[in-house]
């Protein structure tokens, strides 16, 4: 009959197996901890990532729109709600002359329909490649060539047709590139140059969609994006524009972002505090449970000492037991967190109403290692004191107490 040797590891596993309820309960505590640490950290990193992407993508310091359309502009930028509004092209020239304005570029907004004529209802944005300083730097990250006439650049959330095209107002357009996620409304927008926009506008007219009453698209624009001189303050330039140009409203994206950032900061702080509190709580719970169970097992350890186990060996067996619990709980918690978060990132982002972009794999791995480390270390850390205490106990007295 071949039997395995009784190493410290085997003794520890055996002890855990024979007390399966106790082992499972302790494992659940660690799993809850690692779930919160990993899940919370991924959530926090995704929100921070989304925020940073949002800051990067709103490449303009100011956005000038027709008066009364401030809220709709925010809807386009943050939630991707398709809207259109127009003012005269000459507004861009007026704004360019305002003190503190360094660059201006205009954009033309159109929306598609959720009808047979169109693949999907999205925000259509036409830009001027010659003056643009917002879309093209972003496009260049995924697409190096120039955007030709009739070509589209689409946001990350746009679902393409099988032949890599999108149909708008009865005509199919090839997709030149799909942009990386920004976690803004721009993810569900489609971009094109002004010539393509003209064709699309004409197509809309053919199917009976009149976006403009009398004006021609060539003389209208939806927004003027402004880059301000670095020596000027955005709020002051915005004030200058409001007082110089009539019937316009100035949106300050950074101001808009800062209110989102405020909400985000509160949420991140809440998650971080919750993680710290849970870690401390888990440490206290595990410390108490280990202390109680080790105390209950006094006689067992006294017997081991009588049989010739060194103090170091007793500590080794106990730390191995707690390490196994921590490793198992840590892995299970992390796995559950991964299953709950990664497949549902879009849903989570929508529900939070905050910019949400999952961090890069390397960051996820860093978070994984740190969360596992913090979860794994908690077992030996909290059982260490009790293990040392029991190893130093007088064996004879412990044996009698354990009777």
């Amino acid at each position: 009959m071949k039997q395995k040797s009784l190493s410290d590891r085997r003794l520890a596993i055996n002890n855990l197996k024979r007390k399966i309820f106790r082992t499972t309960c302790l494992g659940i505590v660690v799993a809850m901890l690692s779930f919160t640490l990993f899940g919370g950290s991924i959530l926090t990193a995704s929100l921070k990532n989304g925020m940073s992407s949002m800051k990067q993508r709103f490449g303009a310091d100011l956005m000038v729109v027709p008066k009364g359309y401030e809220a709709q502009t925010e809807g386009i930028l943050l939630k991707g709600e398709p809207k259109y509004f127009y003012f005269d092209k000459s507004v861009a020239e007026e704004i360019a002359k305002v003190e503190g304005v360094e660059l201006v570029t205009s954009q033309f907004f159109l929306t598609s329909l959720s009808a047979a004529c169109c693949s999907t209802k999205v925000q259509l944005i036409g830009f001027n490649p010659k003056t643009d300083f917002v879309i093209q730097p972003w496009v260049s990250k995924t697409y190096s060539g120039a955007i030709g006439d009739g070509q589209l650049i689409v946001g990350s959330d746009i679902v393409l047709e099988n032949n890599n095209t999108l149909k708008f107002y009865g005509q199919s357009y090839p997709i030149a590139a799909q942009l990386e996620k920004t976690s803004t409304g721009l993810d569900s927008s489609v971009f094109m140059n002004m010539d393509t926009m003209q064709k699309l506008f004409a197509g809309a007219k053919k199917v009976g969609m009149y976006f403009l009453d009398e004006q021609k698209p060539g003389s209208s624009i939806s927004t003027v994006l402004v880059k301000i001189d670095k020596n000027y303050d955005a709020e002051i330039v915005a004030k200058n524009i409001r007082s110089t140009v009539s019937k316009v409203e100035v949106v300050v994206p950074q101001k808009m972002i800062s209110s989102i950032a405020k909400n985000l900061d509160s949420l991140v702080i809440y998650i971080q505090i919750f993680s710290i509190v849970l870690w401390i709580l888990a440490a206290v719970i595990l410390g108490i449970v280990f202390s109680v169970t080790i105390n209950e097992r006094k006689k067992e350890f006294a017997v081991l000492r009588i049989l010739g186990a060194t103090r170091k060996k007793l500590i080794g067996i106990l730390l191995t037991e707690s390490l196994f619990i921590s490793i198992t709980g840590g892995i299970v918690g992390t796995l559950i967190a991964s299953i709950s978060i990664f497949p549902f990132s879009t849903y989570i982002g929508d529900k939070l109403q905050l910019p949400y972009i999952q961090p890069h794999t390397s960051t996820i791995l860093e978070i994984l290692v740190l969360s596992l480390l913090l979860s794994i270390v908690i077992g030996p850390l909290t059982s260490g004191y009790s293990a040392i205490k029991i190893s130093r106990a007088e064996t004879y007295i412990t044996m009698r107490e354990g009777e």
Partner: protein
């Protein structure tokens, strides 16, 4: 001489005063001895036994096993000494409930690197103590007498020089007590010295010398 004890003393403090649980005890045991120490509860016999097993540090005196002084040594040394030179049978039930009978017996073998087959040896010992059929059972399935036999087999797994038995027959019926004592006699005849402490007078009929411990003082008694 296998075990040489001189002026062994253990002093405890109780409140402001102190008392000697073991008082200047001298004792010599050779390889073929089967020594019984009798005494009332609290007479100091268990303290004395635990000092020999290096589980209690004496206040003064000397203790040599096979010519080696094992007092005041580091934990690593005394633990090894306890594991390899001493077979200790603690008072009451001392098996580990998470292990099978076979693993309980094999366990001390694996505390230090050793040559040989622990399983074969453990099965042989279980045969000798009369419970080979219980090898795969767990302690909770065993009777008091059977548990005591497991403890005896476990104490013998590393072929110790001396077997220390603390009240080995307490809480056993008379028939089982006789069986256990006969088992000790066999072990003694096979060349393992035995030092047993007990408060049961019937058991002193076994072995070759009897001592009485009273208030920590050890005196020899004629059989």
């Amino acid at each position: 001489m296998l075990l040489e004890i001189k002026k062994l003393t253990k002093e405890y403090k109780r409140g402001a005063s102190s008392f000697k649980a073991v008082d200047n005890v001298d004792l010599s045991i050779s390889e073929d001895d089967f020594v019984s120490i009798i005494g009332r509860s609290g007479s100091g016999k268990s303290t004395f036994l635990n000092m020999i097993a290096s589980l209690i540090i004496p206040t003064s005196g000397s203790l040599e096993l096979e010519g080696q002084n094992i007092l005041s040594k580091k934990d690593k040394v005394t633990s090894f000494y306890r594991n390899s030179k001493i077979g200790y049978i603690p008072q009451g039930y001392s098996t580990l409930s998470n292990l099978t009978v076979l693993d309980n017996v094999r366990l001390p073998f694996f505390f230090y690197k050793r040559e040989g087959d622990a399983t074969e040896k453990a099965l042989d010992l279980l045969e000798k103590v009369g419970i080979p059929h219980l090898a795969q059972s767990y302690p909770k399935e065993l009777s008091g007498g059977e548990l005591r036999r497991v403890s005896i087999a476990r104490a013998l797994i590393n072929s110790p020089a001396i077997l220390l038995a603390d009240e080995p027959t307490s809480d056993l019926d008379s028939l089982t007590t006789t069986d256990i004592m006969q088992l000790f006699e066999q072990i003694s005849q096979n060349g393992t010295a035995i030092l047993m402490v007990t408060h049961e007078l019937d058991t002193v009929n076994y072995g070759n010398s009897v001592y009485v411990m009273n208030s920590g003082v050890l005196t020899k008694r004629n059989k």
